[in-house]
Structure formats: structure tokens, C-alpha cells
Amino acid sequence: MKNLLFAGIGLTLVFAGGVIAQTRSAEDGEALQQTLQEKAVRIPARPTATDASKEDQSRAARPLPRQPNWAEVRADLERTAGEDAQQQTSQQTLSRAQTRPVAPPPGLRALTANRLANVERAEVDRVLIPLLLPAHPDIRDKLKVYGMENVYTATAAIDENASLSITGTCNRVIGGDPRVVEFRKRLAEKPRRLSGTGAEYHISRNDYGVDLSFSKFGCGYVMNIECGNPADDQRCAADAYVGSLAESMLLANPERAGGQ
């Protein structure tokens, strides 16, 4: 117990010392501001056109319009349809008692927009890329879609403390600062993969919650959970919730894939 006490005192002193050591005077602040001004870049009022053009080209990222891989979409739908048929047979054999699915099975399934309670058909019709939505029954009928040709966003209030959005596009931006290009290549070497859809994914946290970014069918998607208290709400503080939503997706415009 005595050791614990001394450890407490030591910790307190270390932190107190750290705070004191880190505090700077007003003169230090003014000197820092002066340093910032000295190293700041100013822009010539009349740059030569060639210089500006060269510099911009070396730093500019390049837009890369891309079409989705609809053949992959069809293959995924066929695979899950086969799994569902097999599962249904097994269920009938085992029991006929269960009438209501508890959670959606993993993978991608087709569901036409008119079966989604809060989705306007015209918004879906505008979208030319695979329009993926989380399949969870508590969310899918709250989703509202904002469709444009090459991008869409769907949003839903999960409850009064959390909301969800998912945005997708197949257009890409590539290149830019060589340091960033290298960093991104290293990131891509060790992707995690969602077991349900097979998509590569990454998770980020931010001011308001958590983002799960995944790539599928040649397109990029980002699903965001926004929480009122992101540090305390496990839907934002942990990976499990957003990960589980991304495991089971619906394709809201299966007619674009053909044959559905």
C-alpha cells in the first residue's frame, strides 16, 4: 500500500513538473508568432504563367472517372442467393417455428427501392453506380437516399443519440504529393477484409464518431456513425458496431446490375 502511495506522489510530481516545464511566457508566444511569419510562404502578386503552371501540375491530384464492375456485383448476388436457398432448405428441415429473421445474413443481397420505406424511387433511379445500403432491419427502413449520377449518400437516424450515413462513388482521385502516394501504397499493402462482403476496409475516428471506408466493385464507400458522445457510445468508440453493419449490405438498384 505504501508503494502505491509513493507511486501516486511520484506520478503527481512528474505531471506537475511536466505542466510547469511546458508552460511558456507571453514573450515565447510572440517569438513563436515571429518565427511563423519568417518561415511563411508569400505568393508573388504577378507570377509568371509557366512557373505557376508547373508547380500546380506537380501538386495536383488527378481525377479518374471509373465504371463499377457490374460482373462482380452479379457474381456476389448469385453467391448469396445460392447460400440463401441452401439455408432455407436447412431451416425448413430443422424447424418451421422461426418466422422473423433476427439479423441479416452476411453478404450482398438485392432489394428494390420500393421495398425501402423511406426511400424515394427517383433518388435511386438517378444513381448509376452500385447503391449499397446497410441491411440491418433497424436501419434500412429509416434510410433516406440523396442520389446523383456518380455519387450517392444515404442517411438515417439510428436513435436520438446516433445517426448513420453512407456515401459511395466509383470516381477516384489519384496521385499528388509523392510522400502521400508512398504512404497510401504502404497502407494498401495490409488491408483488413470484411468477411461478409469480402471488401477491403479501414476504420477512422473523428470529432463526431467513426468512419468505415471500404472498396468494393471498383468503387469506394464510407459509412459514418455519428454519436452525441463518441468517446462513451460503444457504437462509435468500438469497431464492432460499424463493422457488423458493413458485413451485410443491400443493393438498392439491382436493375443496374442486369438480370435482377
Binding site: L11, Q22, S25, R59, A61, M148, T153, R205, D207
Partner: protein
């Protein structure tokens, strides 16, 4: 002895908690709105120096300058050196002059004292050039581009300190697009462009937005006023300075072969480029 032990342990815990809070978003000092923390410099009655004529200036005649990308204030994190201009043709997100700098590690921020910058958010130097990057400024949360924890956007002060001036400063659409579900967030407005870029405007005055849900907007159209709206799930106000927190999501890939990641990229040099155009061409 038991009481002393509890006091010391409580003090240690308090110190630990305070150190964790170093990384909270846009935390501000209690006296953040105090305008007289540091007296304003005497106005310079002389005309700008001849040297200044050679450089780009704003409408107030001040020379625009910026600290290079990724060069953050001391002790405020490693930053993220990214000179990429992701969107060369976008406009600037504020109508008037603006100042990018830290809301946490400068005057008015909770950690300003570690840089000798004690004072209120209205300190003159917060509303002056040079700009400074705040992408990947220290935060407790991990972001893809800031794996050790970082701020996932940049913070922009308006042309004047609103608690002092009471002025309205408008945030505008940086490009044509669509407003996404402003009612689904307590303090965020999203703008989606047709080629797949997503922007987040945070801390606007949410009860007086100039746009509606799903509205199609044009580049330069007013969205809302810069404010300090920031709420938790109970609807209680979370302290922050008056500023626009601006984020840009891109479906980015390093090359044509690598799978993209749709996430936040550093908007810093994109905004430098947009501001230069604004000053030069009035865009």
C-alpha cells in the same frame, strides 16, 4: 494517512485526465471571449512597404502568407506533410478573408499556454496571416492519415472575431453540389459534388442555415454563418471557438492499380490554392 493517500491519488488521476484532455477537439479556455487579453497593435499609419506590393494581398491590404503544409505548432503533433491540391477548381468556403490556424494550441485554446499563447480567442494574431496547417494536429483518436491520432480537417477563423464584432461571416459552397441531411446532425452540414467529393462544414449556426435538406446549390452560394455550434447527445453545448471546421473526403488511390480508400484528405493546400484564386480573381 488514508485521507492523504486519497487526495494524492485523486491529484494523480486528475493530472492524468488533464493530460488526456490535451487532445480533445477545439477545447477553449474559459475566458475565450475576453477581447482585451492582449492589446491590439497600434495601427500603422504608414502605407504598406514597397516589398509588400510584390506579394498577393487580401482586400484589407494584408500580405497573404502560409506556413508550409504539415508544419504544425510545437507540441501539437507530427502533422501530415501533404502538398496535394485535391480539387484545383473549388472556391474558398468563406465569403470574406479567413485565417487557418489552431483552435487548441494558440490564443484562446486550452493548450495555448504551452506555446506561451495565453489569452482569448479574439487575440489579434489569431486573425492575421500566416495560415498554419492543422490537419493531423494531436487528438486522441486515430485517423487513416494520422495513425498516431489526429485532427481530420482544418480549422478556419472568419474575417473578424465574432464574439467581439458580432459580425455575420458566411460559409459558402465550394462547388456545385447537393446539401445532405443537415437535420441529421447537430453541428454538421455536408455538401456532395457529382463527381464524388464530400465536404463537411462544422460549427455553423445550425438554427439559421441558408440551405435546406437535399437542396441543389451552386458554387459560392451561402450555406450558413460561421459560429461555434457543437453539442453532445443531451443537447448540451460543448465549448469550442468560433470557427469553421472543414473536411474533404476523396475516394483516393495512389495510382490506377491500387484499391481506393474513401476518406478524409488534407484540404490545406487545396484551400491555399482556392484562396489564392479568390484574392487574385475574386472567385
Amino acid at each position: 494517512m488514508g485521507a492523504i493517500k486519497h487526495i494524492l491519488l485523486a491529484a494523480a488521476v486528475a493530472m492524468l485526465t488533464a493530460s488526456c484532455d490535451l487532445f480533445d477537439e477545439d477545447d477553449i479556455t474559459p475566458d475565450d471571449t475576453t477581447p482585451e487579453e492582449t492589446p491590439a497593435d497600434d495601427p500603422d499609419p504608414e502605407a504598406p512597404e514597397a516589398e509588400d506590393d510584390a506579394f498577393l494581398t487580401d482586400e484589407g491590404g494584408r500580405v497573404f502568407s502560409y506556413v508550409p503544409a504539415g508544419d504544425l505548432l510545437p507540441t501539437s503533433g507530427p502533422g501530415h506533410a501533404d502538398t496535394t491540391i485535391y480539387r484545383p477548381d473549388i472556391g474558398f468556403p468563406l465569403e470574406d478573408a479567413a485565417f487557418l490556424n489552431s483552435q487548441v494550441y494558440r490564443y484562446g485554446g486550452s493548450q495555448g499556454s504551452i506555446n506561451g499563447m495565453d489569452g482569448g480567442q479574439c487575440h489579434d494574431s489569431n486573425y492575421d496571416y500566416p495560415w498554419q496547417d492543422t490537419f493531423c494536429e494531436s487528438r486522441s483518436r486515430n485517423q487513416i492519415m494520422c495513425p498516431d491520432g489526429g485532427h481530420e480537417g482544418v480549422d478556419i477563423r472568419a474575417a473578424s472575431c465574432i464574439p467581439e464584432t458580432g459580425a455575420d461571416h458566411w460559409a459558402v459552397a465550394v462547388e456545385d453540389g447537393r446539401i445532405i441531411a443537415p437535420s441529421s446532425s447537430r453541428y454538421t452540414v455536408r455538401l456532395q459534388s457529382d463527381d464524388g467529393t464530400l465536404y463537411r462544414y462544422m460549427h455553423l449556426k445550425m438554427d439559421a442555415l441558408a440551405v435546406s435538406d437535399g437542396e441543389v446549390v451552386s458554387k459560392g452560394q451561402r450555406i450558413g454563418k460561421v459560429s461555434n455550434d457543437f453539442f453532445n447527445s443531451s443537447g448540451e453545448r460543448v465549448p469550442t471557438t468560433f470557427h469553421l471546421h472543414f473536411e474533404m473526403y476523396q475516394n483516393y488511390a495512389p495510382d490506377e492499380e491500387t484499391a481506393p480508400i474513401f476518406d478524409q484528405v488534407s484540404p490545406y493546400m487545396t484551400l491555399v490554392n482556392a484562396y489564392e484564386k479568390k484574392l487574385r480573381d475574386g472567385e
